[in-house]
Amino acid sequence: MNAVHGRYLHIDLSAGTATAYPLPEAVFARLIGGVGLASYLLDRFCPPGADPLGPENPLIFASSPFIGTGITTASKIALTAKSPQTGMIGDSLSSSYLALALKRTGYDALVITGQAPGWTVLAVDDGEIRLLPGSDLLGLDPAATADAVRAELGNSFRVAAIGVAGERGVRYASISNDGRLAGRTGPGAVMGSKRLKAIAVRGTQRLPAVADPRGVVRAARELAERSLGPDTAKYRELGTAANLAFFSRLGVLPTRNFQAGTFEAAEAISGERLFLEHRTDKHGCAACTIGCEHHYRTRDDGETVEVRLEYESLFALGSLCGVSDPNAVLRAAALCDRYGMDAISTGSTIAWAMECVERGVRLPGRPEEWPRFGDAEGLLRTIQAIGERRGLGDLLAEGSRRAAEIVGQGSVEWAMHVKGLELPGYDPRKLKAMALGFAVSTRGACHNRSSAYEVDFSDQLDPHAEALAWARAAARAEDRAAVLDSLTICKFLRHCFSDFFTEAAELFVRVTGLSMTAEELRLAGERINTVKKLFNIRQGWTRADDTLPPRLLSGEASGLTAAELDRLIQAYYRVRGWDEQGLVPPERLHELGLAELLRDDSRMMHGYAG
């Protein structure tokens, strides 16, 4: 096949070695690349019961056939590891030059296992690796770390780095590269547990040729033109922050730890207001024609901060914590970036603590330092405490699920997570497909892996449609998301295809030379979701993990009850061909062509066999 190298590099930090292994064509034919490839390698390398913060947990970076082809937005790198938040699959995507650099090394993926003897910078220079001392970089934020590493190694290296949160094992620490983040599920904590402060990658190899160069150029040009049309206008003009006021109006804006779906101060922190009063400029990832990254500046007497802001950071550090000062929200987002922490989990865990305070639940630390709803200073102070794992921050660095289990006093009732991953900014009580998507997602509460909100925010289904129709729509949305994440093209491009599976399959054929129909591509998405599910089952997933926080199932506000969610989940399992307990029968694995690919005796490796 074309457009891939057909091999990956396994780096063992404990032994200081790097070994190349082949990647069979069947892996790309069945799982595409990107998140599909990274999930496959995680399944091969991570033993059941592995400690997410132990040396046996692999940290995997994977590229895809589309990277470097000129197809717009296709500069995304996929990361997987067993998540320190969920104990299940942790998969993230990050954009930009690092993805291109990795592909130019001559490898399709890096699998990093073990633990370095001391703080280290891993330099990957084509196929050569070097382990360089990293302790001088401790305490630096990710951007400063990258600058320091590039000053040392040269600007031809692209750098992924962690901040102080990753060094100190905050369970939702992120990895940053080129100003972008692999934020959710805590990959930065995994990287920190390996004593890796930074990974610097330089690739000088030729990119593998595509099968139909002219066809790819033509298709890439058409897609680039469409990417400038009305279907991406929102992202180009306003960015995702535009969701906030509208979501509040619809009653689906999580407010004060999901105690309400409407924020009375939504106008003050709306995307429209931010655009008029705080926006400075706009950026884009490498190889992207859309450019959705809007930057904003504080406009008050305090320290000036300029930061990229998305809807998810805006809701999590704004309405979810009851904070209505846009300057405070911008500072909070900048702090999350500086410490290297996922803004959703940060905001949500702080909102849990705020509700504890509101309800008189005792927390560690001094009461005058506890954060309260609407208290902007308290929000900023608590983010710093989490990043440094100080006082109350040490508890909150564990995430809302663990913190609630430690504190008790009934606080698990308002820990707003699924499988340990805090909910993003969609109140599922009024969004039926999203409710199902959150409950069954292998990653925990994630809107991006599920994408089921698209069903709710459209006229695809009658609100009174039967459970099976919701399940089919949610499964299809999930399969499409898996394909996008594996090809790897940006989800913001998805509406630029008039028939996504058909056009993306044609593009895949032109790039790789492999055959692929629309239905086969959808099936590849299902296969990828199944690989993730199988990983979770091996790590101890049970039927009880597919649920929503009790607060969302009370039947108030929407009528979403535990019984209704259960009906949706059962319908989803039927659509997937799973049994009533959500387990994948062996015959389904055969039908999907996964039985051979995931044979136990080909499971790697280096101490882990079956």
Binding site: L93, P230, K234, A242, D459
Partner: protein
């Protein structure tokens, strides 16, 4: 449109709000198509970026929400009691 058509309150979000500078407007119309046409007339800044001047209907990236229901059905009936929102059709994150 016949005279005496009742006015409908339309709330604008995102780009339509920024272009018009209004969060809420009142326009006459009995269907969403009529509403879109009047919006393009009364707020010419919407014609092009949001509403196709040739068809008088929404561009691909936009959708109405009527009484909580998302729809791009141009013939969808509306009345003075309807809650009508005009929004961008996309949601979600990049990755």
């Amino acid at each position: 449109m016949s005279t005496g058509t009742a006015t409908v309150r339309v709330e604008l979000f995102g780009t339509p709000q920024l272009l018009t500078g209004q969060r809420q407007v009142e326009v006459p119309g009995r269907t969403l198509h009529e509403i879109a046409g009047v919006l393009a007339q009364e707020f010419p800044v919407l014609a092009g970026p949001v509403i196709d001047p040739a068809t008088g209907w929404l561009n691909g990236g936009y959708i109405f929400v009527v009484d909580g229901r998302f729809t791009r059905d141009a013939s969808y009936p509306v009345g003075p009691e309807s809650s009508v929102l005009l929004v961008s059709a996309q949601a979600g994150g990049a990755s």
